[in-house]
């Protein structure tokens, strides 16, 4: 990392992460160099530093071969602005718009200046994440105008979907421009679930923040709680006990397994193979009940806590878990054969909703959807922190980038998760479950970066005095995937959209914050 940026300082903790402050003028040069070095943009966010006698700041998290680099560029108090990087990292465009909506820092040369997370809840010109913005304020709701891009031409018409969708799914708006049944363009509008999570962190103690982090996106509660705990532990200089880390690993793989089982069921359902739905949801329910019985919660919420884990896994419970995993593995193998041999299902899966390798690379797609499009990134293998260090995680991969590839990656990852849980269970260290986490000193930074079932969950934490939080930015991998869903559906027929959407299964809550 020192080769890349000599000023980078190693952040505390097991994660290979560095921090550097740079001038806004050199932001583009550093981003350009990173892009040339095949770096990915993990997150972009902004903060208000006026209570510290400064102005504002814009922050970038870059994934480099050596690890994670957190860059902070101070911006002036009057008219805070910085050179935009959306031409270098296309996924930055929406993040820059969100940073403006929330903190009022302006990205110059951003190709798109429309609002993103702001609808009508607060007026333009007010910025909720500024320190002088009252969290309890109830600004008069204004009109919500949002200019969608219109496709014109003979026979083109629009289908507007959402925010309340036809199924049990989170709210968002999709604007399709179509000819006949063919999709010419899809434009997403998100932000409906914005509920002030980042502002809420600033009203909580660092310890209380863990519960909130576990509810940024409920389906990834373990990944978020772990990323938050990792950030806080790094900032406090605390190392969780080895047993706790192994149990976190088991919990993260259980979360991956449960979500993959559920998605595989729904992917069957969406191609009229309701058999698949019932079979996979039976297996998922078995697993959720076991989670509840052995670890206290069906989705393992609040299991990962700062300093360790909240509950032990007794030897008898571990034996039951491993036994149950064996039977899940056998059943999944049978179901995979049935899916693979089902001509009707495969006909719908193959070459539907394709994201090419080139596009995935350009947008910095990672996680499950990235691995289905030849982007072989997996933090558990690329930057393994305990307990993954000795497990040599096998990264699932596919190159076709279609629904079938995303189905295959899920099947492969189930197999690998089961192997990892067995390995972790077989070598479960003894000792403490949790150590005390002292309040980090003001201004201390920490970050967490965890390969959740959907992809990389990132949490950046900047501590305030007395165990409070100056700024917490949780980042969902869906930010990188949402723009590609718009591309994946091009040229497909409208009735295939639910299938394509489900094959990504992106988070709205994790994105809208």
């Amino acid at each position: 990392m020192k080769d890349f940026l000599p000023d980078a300082e190693r952040l505390p903790g097991a994660l290979p992460a560095w921090h550097a402050s740079i001038q806004a003028e050199s932001l583009r040069a550093v981003a350009q160099k990173a892009r040339e070095g095949k770096a990915r943009l993990v997150a972009l966010w902004a903060s208000d530093e006026t209570t510290r006698g400064a102005g504002y700041a814009v922050h970038l998290a870059l994934a480099l071969p050596a690890g994670l680099l957190w860059l902070s560029a101070p911006l002036e108090r009057e008219h805070p602005r910085y050179p935009g990087i959306a031409d270098l990292f296309p996924c930055a465009a929406r993040m820059q718009r969100a940073a403006y909506d929330l903190v009022g820092v302006h990205a110059q040369d951003n190709p798109d200046h429309r609002k993103w997370l702001r609808h009508a809840a607060w007026p333009g010109g007010q910025f909720p994440l500024r320190k002088d913005f009252d969290a309890d304020a109830r600004p008069e709701p204004g009109e919500d105008h949002y200019p969608f891009v219109r496709v014109e031409g003979e026979g083109v018409h629009e289908i507007a979907v959402g925010p309340v969708h036809a199924g049990t799914i989170e709210p968002g708006h999709f604007r399709f421009s179509i000819v006949g049944e063919k999709v010419l363009r899809l434009e997403e509008r998100l932000g409906y679930k914005h509920k002030g999570i980042e502002k809420r962190f600033e009203a909580l103690s660092a310890d209380e923040g863990a519960r909130l982090a576990g509810r940024v996106s409920g389906d990834s509660t373990v990944a978020y709680a772990w990323a938050y705990a990792m950030a806080l532990e790094a900032a406090s200089g605390v190392q969780p006990p080895a047993r706790a880390l192994s149990l976190r690993g088991i919990a993260l793989e259980l979360e991956r397994l449960a979500n993959h089982l559920g998605d595989l069921g729904y992917l069957g359902n969406d191609v009229a193979l309701s058999f698949g739905f019932f079979q996979f949801w039976r297996l998922k329910e078995d697993l959720l009940r076991l989670n509840h019985e052995l670890l206290g919660h069906r989705y393992l919420m609040d299991f990962v806590v700062p300093g360790g884990v909240a509950r032990n896994l007794e030897p008898s419970a571990l034996a039951r878990l491993l036994d149950a995993l064996g039977s899940i593995e056998r059943e999944v193998a049978t179901l995979r054969t049935i899916y693979d041999e089902h001509a009707g299902a495969q006909d719908r899966f193959i070459m539907t909703g394709q994201v090419t390798l080139e596009l995935a690379a350009q947008f910095g797609l990672a996680g499950l959807a990235g691995r289905a499009s030849g982007q072989a990134y997996d933090l558990r293998a690329d930057h393994p922190v305990p307990p993954y260090a000795e497990l040599e995680v096998r990264v699932a991969g596919h190159i076709r980038g279609d629904v079938a590839a995303r189905v295959s990656v899920r099947f492969e990852e189930i197999t690998e998760s089961l192997r990892l849980m067995r390995a972790l269970g077989a070598a479960l260290p003894g000792g403490e479950l949790r150590v005390a986490v002292a309040a980090p000193r003001a201004g201390q930074l920490g970050c967490g970066w965890v390969e959740g079932w959907r992809g990389e969950v990132f949490v950046a934490l900047d501590a305030a005095q007395g165990g409070r939080l100056h700024r917490v930015h949780p980042h969902d991998p869906s930010w990188q995937s949402w723009p590609l869903l718009e591309r994946a559906v091009l040229g497909n027929i409208v009735p295939d959209f639910p299938l394509v959407n489900k094959s990504f299964n992106l988070s709205y809550s994790g994105h809208d914050l």
Partner: protein, 179 residues
């Protein structure tokens, strides 16, 4: 096809007994006359509205359709439009950005209608509370008949909440008598 049929035969029927209604979940007096409830009976159409949840409650609503709970066997099914619905199942907290959409969905649901709020956040606003971006409990925006706490509430609790909303006054007195 052979593998598929074999798997179906091997799995058998796994559906479990449905829970009973629970009067302690009721928020306001029963809004529907017994006659209306008799018409609804156990053929109930439910429209789910996610008004700003973390998506945890949605996981459990999905699970209600798993073969263990098999909601449709009770005559309860999810429908795609509020205009087809008898009951709205709403998760919260209600984000400020979803307030209008939730009100419109409620208005689009024909009378007689019922609302069941799901989860701690739907009941009280939960950890997100009320703020510039969150209106808090579902009842702050639309009338709520039954509220089901939990983070998230288990599928049986959600089904219990739905059944409570449609349980009649006469059914209440007879179940009270049997206790």
């Amino acid at each position: 096809m052979y593998h598929l049929l074999k798997q179906i035969a091997k799995t058998g029927i796994v559906s479990e007994r449905a829970p009973q209604a629970d009067e302690s979940l009721r928020q306001i007096g029963q809004r529907l006359h017994d006659a209306a409830l008799k018409h609804l009976g156990r053929a109930l159409c439910v429209r789910h509205v996610d008004a700003g949840s973390c998506n945890g409650c949605e996981l459990e609503i999905h699970a209600c359709n798993s073969p263990y709970y098999n909601l449709e066997r009770l005559g309860i099914r999810f429908v795609a439009s509020p205009r087809h619905a008898d009951l709205l199942l709403v998760t919260g907290p209600v984000s400020a950005h979803m307030e209008t959409a939730l009100r419109r969905t409620y208005d689009a649901t024909p009378e007689p209608k019922l609302v069941v709020a799901i989860g701690d956040c739907g009941c009280t606003g939960g950890i997100f509370g009320e703020s510039y971006a969150s209106r808090g409990a579902v009842s702050k925006v639309i009338p709520v008949d039954v509220a089901v706490p939990g983070c998230p509430p288990a599928p049986a609790a959600i089904i219990q909440g739905i059944l409570t909303a449609v349980s009649s006054a006469s059914g209440r007195s007879s179940s009270a008598a049997s206790r």
